[in-house]
């Protein structure tokens, strides 16, 4: 552990939906320039954890700090302004708006108009397909293209921290490889990443560290190499209670 202040720090965060607790007493750190994976079975609470950081779900206990200052309780808009961008599960693109308008909304919290236009151009170099389709309605893009649009839209807010929720969801391996290649380079752009993934090996390929979540709790953490060799990982995932010390992950929904 370095002495340096982490970019994101969760301390004892509990959150959920009304009476349902989906994240219990979660503590984690993401340091600047890292890619950190958040793994776990369906219904473990990964998406809820990301949404809590993004301010879409209010935590009922605990602190969330971005670069040393509390962000829990702030409006999502304010959290985006401070440099956190969530790319939601299922992409959440705006289907009946054009690709260009989707990107423009990505910059909703920014005021520097000229720079926004330049950044949109840059997104079109980063993802050439978006440039070609800029005037097309976003809903007519393929799944992979939509995921690229969702990533580009997040980047348009010039985030320091990106929260990525299952960017590989429903995509062909070739496209997934392409997207992960791009994610790997995010730290070079000054973007730190907290990545939720079902595809464990892919996630641990690009991540330096990771956490494993099961039954609403963070149960395991370590470097990518440690997690890769951890026996429990399989068990947490497969939910086979067997001789695993932790309670097995619930199927959730």
């Amino acid at each position: 552990m370095s002495e340096e202040r982490p970019l994101l720090r969760l301390d004892g965060v509990t959150s959920g939906y009304g009476p349902i607790v989906a994240v219990r007493d979660a503590s984690l750190e993401v340091r600047s320039g890292e890619i950190v994976a958040l793994l776990g079975a369906n219904g473990a609470g990964k998406s809820t954890l990301l949404m809590t950081v993004a301010g879409l779900v209010r935590p009922t206990a605990g602190n969330i700090e971005l670069d040393g200052s509390r962000i829990d309780g702030l409006k999502p808009e304010e959290i985006v302004r401070r440099g956190v961008a969530l790319t939601p599960e299922g992409r959440g693109i705006f289907s009946h708006l054009t690709v260009a308008d989707n990107l423009r909304i990505g910059a909703a919290v920014r005021k520097d108009r000229a720079q926004i236009a330049t950044d949109a151009e840059e997104m079109c170099t980063l993802f050439p397909i978006l440039g070609e389709r800029r005037r097309q309605l976003a809903g007519t893009l393929s799944g992979g293209e939509q995921q690229m649009l969702a990533l580009a839209r997040s980047l348009m807010s010039r985030p320091r921290l990106m929260l990525l929720d299952e960017p590989s969801l429903g995509l062909a391996p070739r496209i997934v490889a392409q997207i992960f290649e791009m994610l790997r380079k995010l730290p070079e752009r000054g973007v730190t990443v907290l990545l939720v993934e079902q595809n464990v090996s892919l996630a641990l390929d690009i991540a330096q560290r990771g956490y494993v979540m099961a039954s609403s709790e963070l149960q395991l953490s370590g470097t990518a190499a440690e997690l890769r060799s951890a026996v429990d990982l399989e068990q947490v995932y497969l939910g086979s209670a067997g001789d695993a010390p932790e309670p097995a992950a619930t199927g959730g929904r």
């Binding site: 808009e77 992409r91 959440g92 705006f94 009946h96 909304i105 005037r135 007519t140 839209r153």
Partner: protein, 370 residues
Amino acid sequence: MAVFARLISSRFMRSVLRTAVPLVVVLVAVMVVGAVMAPDGRGATYRLLVNFLITVVIVVALQMFTGNSGIVSWGHAAFVGIGAYSTAWFSVPMVIKEDIFPGLPAWMMGAEWGLVPCLLVSTAIGALAAAVVGLAICRMKETAMAMSTLGLLVIAHGIYSNWEGWTRGTEGVYALPTNTTIYIACGFACLAVLLAVMFKYSRVGLRLQASREDPLSAESTGVSVVRARYFAWVASAAMSALAGSLWAQFNLAFGPAQFYYAQVFAILSMLVIGGLATVSGALVGAGITTVIFEVLRGVENEGNLFGIEVPQISGLAQMILALITLLILIFRPNGLLAWWELDGWIVKARDRFWKGGRKLAPDAGEKGGE
């Protein structure tokens, strides 16, 4: 001047003009027809055309909110009513006002204002009412919001029907001045279209549309969904009140029944038939519905369909309109124009013509905002 030139040359303004100009041309054509056919400003055709132009303002106002936010408002007729009653308070001659509005304070009793002051005050009162109500409504979730607009309609109707001193209750109001001509109605219809198109392509309009597509995702992208909805709510209510004022100054007498379910249904039908998402859809829907109503009214009242005698059936117009709305919802749920403004259709038709009916990619084409 330089500012104006920059505005025109901006991409935003180009998109706005490209979409608004064809619509303005249609509206002006309607005006010309009316002015030529009834130069004296009388007769059934003239009344029909002026009422159509006022209806355009009402439907376009609703489109601004419902079309961009995706939240159905059942309550906009209440704001049309606010505009109409406000106009009556400030324009009915004092001698009659003392009789029909005994509750008015002295300074309002004496007011016998003309067209423009009445429009201004009505719009302001409408905006104020919406600003207050919106504080509660716009914070709600989508479905709760739609439900509460229905509540708003019922409450407003209750007030119009029972606040005797200010509304004369169910007996209704009369003796308003005739100030709205076809030129004025057309002018405001064009203005409404222009404002609605500008809103659609504006930053806040775009954000509102994003929230229509996916509210949670819009929120996480940094859009303040509540603020966008509130802005559109107040603006569209103000425009509805303006339309109510225009309407009152053309129809001269009205009662609370004129701002209730039947009207709400008619306005919503127009929007659904033409297409919620576009300003052009609002105009096309208003046009089609007006024609249907006019034809069927002949059947209903006189047993006359294009000069042919048919059996008289009352309530026919409402039923047929409901049926058409249902058919549209089933077979073309996004309305006739769906996601394209009229300019997009014109471009598509032109391309089809030149390229020999080649099927075009599902591209937004000349869709504005880019």
